[in-house]
Point group: none
Chain length 215, copies 4
Amino acid sequence: MARETSPGGEERLRDADRSQNTILAAARDEFAEYGLGGARMDRIAERAGLNKRLIYYYFEDKEKLFQAVLEQAYRDIREQEAQLHLLDLEPATAVRRLIEFTWDYYLAHPEFMTLLNSANLHKARHLAESKRARELNSPLIETLAGVLERGRREGSFRGGVDPVQLYVSIAGMAYFYLSNNYTLSAIFGRDLMAPKARSERLSHMTEVILGYLSR
Amino acid sequence: MARETSPGGEERLRDADRSQNTILAAARDEFAEYGLGGARMDRIAERAGLNKRLIYYYFEDKEKLFQAVLEQAYRDIREQEAQLHLLDLEPATAVRRLIEFTWDYYLAHPEFMTLLNSANLHKARHLAESKRARELNSPLIETLAGVLERGRREGSFRGGVDPVQLYVSIAGMAYFYLSNNYTLSAIFGRDLMAPKARSERLSHMTEVILGYLSR
Amino acid sequence: MARETSPGGEERLRDADRSQNTILAAARDEFAEYGLGGARMDRIAERAGLNKRLIYYYFEDKEKLFQAVLEQAYRDIREQEAQLHLLDLEPATAVRRLIEFTWDYYLAHPEFMTLLNSANLHKARHLAESKRARELNSPLIETLAGVLERGRREGSFRGGVDPVQLYVSIAGMAYFYLSNNYTLSAIFGRDLMAPKARSERLSHMTEVILGYLSR
Amino acid sequence: MARETSPGGEERLRDADRSQNTILAAARDEFAEYGLGGARMDRIAERAGLNKRLIYYYFEDKEKLFQAVLEQAYRDIREQEAQLHLLDLEPATAVRRLIEFTWDYYLAHPEFMTLLNSANLHKARHLAESKRARELNSPLIETLAGVLERGRREGSFRGGVDPVQLYVSIAGMAYFYLSNNYTLSAIFGRDLMAPKARSERLSHMTEVILGYLSR
DNA sequence: TATGAATGAGAATTCATTCAT
DNA sequence: TATGAATGAATTCTCATTCAT
């Protein structure tokens, strides 16, 4: 149709999409840095290099914008998780890989943790109102259940492990260390983000989880 | 009492102390509910039932007030930790008790987690500026080191366990579950705060940590 | 029709006319509902089902659009007045008919009153700038003068009645009741728009005017 | 008490009251000139010579401020009406006086008409939400009923006249002329506010009403 | 003729903070 | 110690209008 053939239409369409994505990225950074309450629409516009009014044009208001950012963040992590192919690996290797992935993802995407904190401060209202809630549900739980079951059958893993609990434990061990790294560093008087400290943390996490699972 | 013997100066001091504590408690609740950015000085005054001007009189500004709240929160948890007497217990029992304490404390003081989130969002600037930083440092690490060492000597625990890492892992497993309970509940489609879910979480945490430590 | 004979220029003209009229009607409704200050160009476009830009294309800006709506409103009422043929009737019947017409017109076109209110709030600037001012002048005054004169000659009406004053009185009695119906209903605690209330108002108006005129 | 005796308390109290009244007067003028939609909070603050924030401090928001202005306007006119003492006069004189009062009041308080127009544009929502609605109800209706009744008994007035209808007619004849004076002047090509035109209007109104009532 | 994208200037409202007593 | 009044600087959001095709 005209839309697709006319150079005008296509470009315009692409521009609209590009603008929306630019805004989303800028908003993600702003929300990550200042939280939902501390984020400033002005700064988001500035970051995006676009007119503030345009944010409202596309996203209605600050809350809806945050919701869009949150959805996008979940979509991103789910997309990456989908690349893991844990079922192709030995159970112990699969678990190790999951731990590494979790750790690396949080490390590479500190904004994800801040967004989650903001979302929880608001009692996950933004997720509840999301129409794409299904996309949020991690398929990883199913996969992890398969890995655990295979490990148990093969005799390398203990039985009776709830994959949800295990997933939360892995995430929690990484999340707490990274998300609270500033207060923890202050309290313990060591820099938790130094390369050595980081690799020690990953080793510890792996040891704990595999030490627990192995029989 | 002061009240009866000296109607003048001392009484006023008492009132001053009481006012300060009232403000602190109100501020803690407000910061916990809305975060540092979302908290409103007006609402804090209202919660405290005191004039807004008085907050400035005692705490200078919002940042300093947050700092005072944060310090108070750390002082509270340290006070409780001091009651644990872990060294009087068998190593396994001591670890179990620590896990239970951590879990129960976060459960009873959800504001502590929110305060930490806010503090970290601001890169722990409020701790760095605190003059009472020593109070923050947990004596628990020393104690935990003793427990781990005794367990190792007695042959019940593995060796080479960093007490800081272990402490962070225990805290992380509890914290992540409780602090992110809204988003997690939304994603997993189950109510993580139901009594049964809660007790299952505690069991899981204990199993993981003791499963890992035991040899 | 044009449609069938000339697919090119004429058809486009028809569309153009139709679009303009659609916009005018949408704008009239919007101005009537929210007043000039409260009307929103966005909503007018939405009501018209046409692109906002088109409004500017045809009407230049909001003020000019309001002016066009106002002119159209006057054109409408003048057109209707022209159907009255008061001079064909007995003087008393003619006056009665004029009262009924005025009442019915305001009742059927509440937007006319709101438009007048807006126009007067802006000191009728929009009329002053109108090039079609002649169309505004009501030929009814001439006609009413004739009716009054005939009544006087026939001995049924008193003399010395200024047709402009009378016209304003008739309009005012209807207008005030209908335009201020919300505040009046609130104050008097009765629903002035109930059918019975409405017919009583019409009777009263007729009685007052004819009671005054008759000798 | 302290409030009344201490110079501080009293002055402060008076200041608060004075500020509120200053704001009310400024708001009344602004609303009268631009309508509710066109009024600007900035300009109201400027007119009042007070900080904009203070308006919100005392009146919450624009709507509530308009409501307060409207209530004040009704209170004002009711206060004046209360001075009329119509029952002390001969029926015809009383009616004449009422007409003159209505005319003079609208003439001296054109803002009252604009406020009513705005209120009706918003379907009198502001009155409906007013807690002082009783104050709005005009005691004049009762009085007018008494006047009409006495006139009928004395044989000078016709019977069967609804005082509400009559009141609305008197008000309407004055209101329409004055409120719509700009459009009417434009249409009729005469200045309706010229002294002569004004006195002619008042005469006409009196003639119509008394001509109707008299028997 | 028609339209989606984009914008600058405002507008209401909010907020931490200070004044004056 | 305590308080009501007052303020300046944001902050979110809105609106008429224009751009580019």
